[in-house]
């Protein structure tokens, strides 16, 4: 039996493991995220009072759920069933008045993960803006505090708090059921969840503003979300595709910046510093995804895998990458994909091929003031020996860049055109 000396720290660690599933189960029951969070917190307070005496119970998740449910019933009775909605819930609860740990344990084992998945889909519902979805997901599933989320996104805490409040209100107003969507709606909703996870990952991976190029904790959080999702939805190719993409991109985190904090482009990265464990996991997820189907994330993961498989930059199969970009632009048309395609073609077929494709998108409004476009053109021109034109492009790119480290890097490339 557990020793009766559990510290608050140990209890909070147990709670952190259970928190998301607890909120998920409670939200489905009371149809209110705010209330569910509050009840989960109440359950923690009760555990902090009880467990130091009794030790952590064998199934802490079921114990916490039982405590929270009892608290919910008490609260509803206390409210004297003011509204009809509450009456319904109270009568529902009366039917399952048996909130014993054993009963709950059995019920929770039945749909392990299903409620959590329901919560993820609700937090990522397209009625909420993508930024708010990301904040709410990090709060409810990742268990981050508002302050932690604000620091991760370089936002003010009140801004994030406001976003979360509004998102919760939108969920309540729309009467969302905290369930996994089925049928025709499903594909779109899956895409909405994946968009949020990748947004969180990218915010960490390619910090768009500020001094640090990478904020790895957001990457780790996104990877964890991706792994949870892949375990709960093992038959969705795009879920596995996104997981593969994130694992492979994250494998390069240590090599992406040098000791001084400056960015290191892919061809110059020290590949010995790539995390082989993450690469293996990424390639395995990609294999499973490709058997199930394809889609934008699967294709992007396949491209990332081409780099991961190359032991040295010169071994990169650029023709295959160029071919994958040709497919990707059909599945996911976007000026950024066109630009990356131009880079791939320049590597596979020479800088002139890259320039030709880059010129075709040079006037695209979406790429106005977008640093990577002149940076890529600068690179093509540099490799074609057209140094004066290259210099202009690098300087233009530096002017557009919002990241201090990246700007320095681009200015150095401009300087190198003088020699």
């Amino acid at each position: 039996m557990a020793a009766a000396t559990e510290t608050h720290q140990a209890i909070e660690a147990v709670f952190r493991i259970e928190r998301a599933r607890l909120i998920a189960g409670l939200a489905r029951m009371v149809r209110d995220v705010d209330k569910a969070e509050e009840l989960a917190q109440d359950a923690l307070v009760i555990a902090l009072a009880e467990w130091p005496k009794t030790g952590v119970p064998n199934n802490p998740g079921a114990w916490l759920m039982a405590a929270a449910k009892r608290r919910a019933i008490d609260g509803i009775r206390h409210d004297r069933m003011r509204t009809r909605k509450h009456t319904e819930i109270a009568s529902d609860l009366d039917h399952e008045r048996d909130t014993s740990v054993e009963t709950l344990e059995a019920a929770m084992d039945d749909d392990i993960g299903d409620e959590l998945l329901g919560l993820i889909f609700t937090a990522c519902h397209p009625i909420i803006s993508a930024e708010a979805r990301a904040a709410l997901t990090l709060r409810l599933i990742g268990g981050l505090t508002t302050d932690e989320i604000a620091r991760a996104f370089l936002s003010a805490e009140p801004t994030i708090a406001q976003r979360i409040v509004r998102a919760k209100k939108a969920i309540g107003k729309a009467g969302l059921a905290f369930e996994v969507p089925r049928g025709a709606e499903r594909a779109g909703r899956v895409a909405s969840v994946l968009e949020v996870i990748y947004l969180i990952f990218n915010e960490g991976y390619a910090a768009t503003a500020g001094e640090d190029l990478i904020r790895p904790s957001l990457c780790a959080e996104a990877q964890r979300l991706g792994r949870i999702l892949a375990a709960l939805m093992p038959d969705e190719p795009e879920v596995l595709g996104l997981l593969a993409l994130m694992e492979i991109q994250a494998s390069r985190l240590a090599a992406r910046v040098d000791a001084g904090g400056a960015p290191v482009p892919l061809p110059s990265q020290n590949r010995a510093r790539w995390d082989q464990l993450l690469i293996r996991r990424g390639l395995a997820a990609l294999d499973r995804a490709e058997v199930l189907g394809d889609g934008p994330y699967v294709l992007q993961a396949a491209i990332a895998a081409c780099h991961a498989r190359a032991r040295r930059a010169d071994d990169t199969d650029w023709r295959r990458i160029a071919g994958l970009y040709d497919l990707l632009r059909e599945r996911m048309p976007s000026p950024v994909v066109e630009l990356n395609r131009a880079v791939a073609h320049s590597m596979a077929f020479g800088p002139e091929a890259g320039l030709q494709l880059a010129d075709a998108i040079a006037e695209d409004a979406a790429l106005r003031n977008y640093a990577p476009l002149p940076a890529a053109r600068g690179d093509f021109l540099f490799r074609a020996g057209r140094l004066e034109e290259a210099k202009i492009q690098f300087e233009r790119a530096a002017g557009y860049s919002r990241n201090a480290r990246e700007r320095t890097f681009l200015l150095e490339r401009a300087l190198a055109c003088d020699s």
Binding site: G113, A231, L277
Partner: protein
């Protein structure tokens, strides 16, 4: 952070005999592994055959001596491992505590955090990092 979680061997695990008496434990362990995967923390793991299948290489100056298993000090041997990605040591401990006993009798599980770049802190100057990287390059045969 990453942690390596070692399941320590017992006299029973060192026999290498797997029978009906282990069925219940295997089932419980299967459920536990499923939970680890669904929590998104499991990066990998496996069980190891008893040390009678293993070998050791002893180093002393230029000499290399191969020692065949089984090895003594049973309780110090490793019988299995997981590699987890967790937020902190508290989370790792909380997960290990809910592991079913991996052995028939009393047993131990050991949690060891992996070194990460930050751990080297001041010790790893840019110059030291450069040397480190160069060595790695050489190891990679470049």
């Amino acid at each position: 952070m990453r942690v390596m979680v070692f399941v320590k061997a017992t006299e029973d695990s060192e026999t290498g005999v797997i029978g009906a008496q282990h069925a219940e434990m295997f089932e419980a362990m299967g459920k536990y592994n499923d939970e680890l995967v669904k929590a998104g923390i499991m990066l990998g793991g496996d069980g190891l055959k008893p040390s009678s299948h293993g070998k050791r290489v002893a180093f002393d100056g230029p000499s290399r001596t191969v020692i065949d298993g089984p090895f003594a000090e049973t309780r110090e041997l490793v019988a299995g491992y997981w590699l987890w990605e967790v937020k902190d040591m508290d989370e790792a401990v909380a997960w290990v505590k809910r592991c079913p006993n991996p052995m028939l009798g009393p047993s131990e599980i050991e949690i060891r955090p992996l070194y990460e770049m930050e751990d080297f802190g001041e010790a790893l100057t840019p110059e030291a990092t450069a040397i480190h990287d160069r060595v790695r390059d050489q190891l990679e045969g470049r």
